[in-house]
Assembly symmetry: C2
DNA sequence: TAAGCGAATGATAATCGTTCTCATTATACT
DNA sequence: AGTATAATGAGAACGATTATCATTCGCTTA
């Protein structure tokens, strides 16, 4: 068997914190939360996140500033993001859920998760003409 | 009128190079190409890209390493990306093109472009068990 | 239970894409 | 031409992520 049945202590801790949150966290935010509970290094947080992604347990997406945000793979949330003010507006449902299942059959690739995001200008920003 | 009809020299140059390429370029790669043609600063390249995005002429997405890749908004290409080896496999068509048009009517938001990417493990990497 | 060994860890330095600063120059408008 | 504003280039600064390395942990085996 390639993987041990249990996750190492810190990987489990990272996964636990992510699962408790309702919104994605950056590695640094995660580090901030975890260090209140136990001694942990920042590098360990990054390493845990990387491994959890490879195990198909965690997903990540890059926010507008390029920083990576992490969440459990079960979370399937997408946003409209304004290029002007940076605000994000959540979509009420995922439009590519069935598509992902179809893909599984048509490509030689094990899909773990997807990212989908729309970019443009939000209502308030359209009014405030530049 | 909020915008001048002509783009500043360097914004135009950036857009020209992007349009000539068939694949997305990073800001640094763009800088490398442009400096062979003219005197230009790296900061100017970043500034031009930012402005072109706001004008709805250029889109960007983050690659696996977090680096931003830029292309004309007309380009509508998506990938399956392997979390193990980092290789990307292009999708043969965009699955959310109609969806984007529908969105325009259902939300107070001017959509310029979208990003969509699938992540998982590619065939060769599945075989090479860890 | 003690020894051995590879994986995991924490501290910290290094990396590198991106942004900021600021003095200079090009451009638009009168 | 003269002035106001936007654009620009060089380089410093920033900050998220990664690499390094010595130490510790967890598990297997004798
Ligand atoms: Mn989804
Ligand atoms: Mn598309
Ligand atoms: Zn906005
Ligand atoms: Zn692969």
């Amino acid at each position: 068997m390639p993987y041990p049945s249990r996750l190492p202590r810190n990987q489990q801790a990272v996964l636990d914190v992510l699962s408790q949150q309702s919104h994605p966290l950056s590695a640094q935010e995660l580090y901030g939360v975890l260090r209140q509970q136990q001694l942990i290094g920042l590098a360990t947080v990054y390493r845990a996140l990387e491994t959890l992604k490879l195990r198909g347990l965690v997903q990540s997406r890059a926010d507008t500033s390029g920083e990576s945000l992490y969440s459990p793979v079960e979370q399937d949330q997408h946003y409209l993001t304004c290029l002007q003010c940076g605000r994000s507006f959540p979509l009420d449902r995922c439009p590519v859920q069935e598509l992902e299942e179809h893909l599984q059959y048509s490509v030689p690739f094990k899909v773990y998760y997807h990212t989908l995001e729309f970019f443009g200008i939000c209502e308030p920003c359209i009014e405030s003409v530049d």
